[in-house]
Structure formats: structure tokens, C-alpha cells
Symmetry: C2
Subunit: 185 residues, 2 copies
Amino acid sequence: MERADAARNRARILEAAARLFAEKGAPNVTMDDIARAAGVGRGTLYRRYPDRAAIAVALLDEHERALQERLLRGEPPLGPGAPPAERLAAFYAAMVGLLEDHAHLVLGAETGRSRFEVGAYGFWRAHVRALLAAASVPEPEALVDVLLAPLDPEVYLFQRRDRGLGPEQITAALTRLAAGVLGAG
Amino acid sequence: MERADAARNRARILEAAARLFAEKGAPNVTMDDIARAAGVGRGTLYRRYPDRAAIAVALLDEHERALQERLLRGEPPLGPGAPPAERLAAFYAAMVGLLEDHAHLVLGAETGRSRFEVGAYGFWRAHVRALLAAASVPEPEALVDVLLAPLDPEVYLFQRRDRGLGPEQITAALTRLAAGVLGAG
DNA sequence: CCTTAAGTGGACATCGTGTCCGGTTCGCCA
DNA sequence: TGGCGAACCGGACACGATGTCCACTTAAGG
């Protein structure tokens, strides 16, 4: 069980981190910044969250859970019931929505390959893998990560900011990708 | 023009960096390590290469140039002459070869979004974009980066090391991707 | 109340980065 | 060959971020 002061501090840390990430961009926020903004000491911060990635994961957690729930038990085409190609396209569209809202938050918080080590990636991977299997794609193993690669927050932000693309254009490209790989079976 | 001692030092820096990157992995090599291994001072190192990424770029340069040359003027299907879908598949296969040899070198050397800022990415981008245009794909702009995303060294190393996939399996998946997107035009 | 264990916070040691400047070496030209 | 200016060299330095550690505080139950 969690002590009252601990719970209060955790809430303050998360709130402060969310604000700072949005303000200055995740890579430019130091652990010290967060601790100071939250009004807690460094030791307290490190006790809970060993690094920025852990904080980002905690912040994203609820949003990702919501999407995961819809994938498992929601309405088609996101949930079960629709053809694999349509479900993949719907998944892409939903992920673009998630990225549009929170990519800035994730970016930089994931140092190096931490993206793959996070539990959420495993979930997306299993989902897409199941769709490939349902479409009878041979050797889906390698294709899974290939199809997930465009959802890298860095890629998304590059397209949005540097290339000047809109979410709908990116979604369209991903839809085409889904149709090309699964539609033409 | 470049002075003789400067040229000698640059060669030693590149040689030492290549060795250290291969030995300990690029992210674990500090600028100080490289300077010491090369037998030069930190100032000398920073004069030429402002960060690790610059060294990695210099090391990759010749290999990338060779591939770029083959794309522009080599034999089909890599060079001009073959249908876009086949050229894209050939490009993927060649990039897998490049990654297989040098991904460890690039990884971690590219801090954050530096991958997109490097000149080579612009070249790959222009190449794939031209292939999409040749295949009369509507709105190729967003699709380009989507198709390039699986070539992220981090993705590749994740597939190779963590997922235990072989280069031929990854190439097969990318070939399927090329066929799906361009083949079914 | 009083005890106990978890929680807290800031000081500390360490490491990597990037800069700066006095001394050195090179390459050109007389 | 000898001298000169400029480019180059290298280590010392200051700074910033990280992660740890420990003495103190506070919450919760008996």
C-alpha cells in the first residue's frame, strides 16, 4: 500500500513532468528540472522513476491502455470483426491520433532502443502479428517490425515538423501501406 | 588544402573510432576514448568532428557513396531500367547489406533525430520518391518516409539481435513491402 | 502516545561535454 | 636554407547532468 504523502508527491511529479515536457520538449528537461518544479528532492524522484523514460511511460500509460482496450474489445474496424487490412488501417489511424497528441512527450524520453523494451511495443507487435496471421501472410515475424517502424515518434515528428505533412496525409500513406501489404494478400 | 599532420591525425582518429565503435558499441564510446586511442588531444578531435555523429558519418561516407553511385548509374534492378517495384526491392536488399555491415557503427552515434539531418537520408528519400513517382503513386510525399522507416538502424538491430531474425528474412519482408505498395499500384 | 519502517530531500562524487589558449609545427617564400 | 605567418595541436578548465547515499522526517498501526 502507498502512503498518503507518497501518492501526493507522485501526482505532483507527473503533473510537473507533463507540463515541462510540453513546454520545453522532453529532451531538454532534466531530472533536476522535474524535481524542482514538482517541489520534491532528487532522491524522491529517483526512488520512483529511474529515468525520464519511466516518467514518459507512466504519462502515456492511460492513453495507451485505452487504445489497447479498444483493439481487444472495441467496435470494428478497430476491434475484432473487420477484415485484417481494414483493422490494420484503423490501428494506424488510431496510432496517428495518439502520436499527434503525445509524440512530443515520448520523443527523447526514449533513449536509444528503449522504445522496443517498453511493454506497449510488445502489445502493438502482438496485435499486428495477429492481423498478419489472420491474413495468412507467410513469415509474418520480420514484417511486423517493418510495419511498426513508421510509427516511431521520431519519424512522425520529422514528417509533421520538417516535411510539413498533416496527420491526414500520414494516415493516408499508412492506409495505403496496410492495403498494399494485406489487401493484395 | 590540408596540412600533412592534420591529415595524419584525421586518419588516426577515423581508424581508432572504427575500432572502438566495433569493440564497445558506439553509444559506449566517449569522445575522450577516441581522442586517447587516436593519440590526439580533445581539442584536435573537436576541431574536426563536433560530435560522435560526425565521425560516424565520415566513416559511413564511402560505403554510402558507393551505393548511391550504383543507384544512379549501376546495373538494373538497382540502377535505372527495371520496374519501380523491383528497383525498390533491390534498394532494400542493398540497404540491408549496408546495415548488416555497419549498423552497429551508426547506432547511438546518431543522437535523436540526427538520422534525418544527414545528407544520406536526403538521397535515399529522393531516390524512393522518384520510384514512387515513376509508379504513379498519388501523394508520394508521406509514403516516402514510411517506406524508409524500417531502415532505421535501431529497428534493424532490434530485429537482428532481440528477435533473432536473419538478414534474408528481413530482406524478404521488405521485398514483400515493396511489392505490396508498388506492385499492386 | 510511541514505535517502526517507509518516505524524503539535498549534498556529494563522478562522468562526459565542449571551449579556450599558450605552445608547436607546417608549408611557403625569399 | 632560414624565417615568418598561419594553421594546428593538446591538455586544462568550467559547466551541467546523472545517480547515489544517508541523516532526518513523517505517516500509520498497536
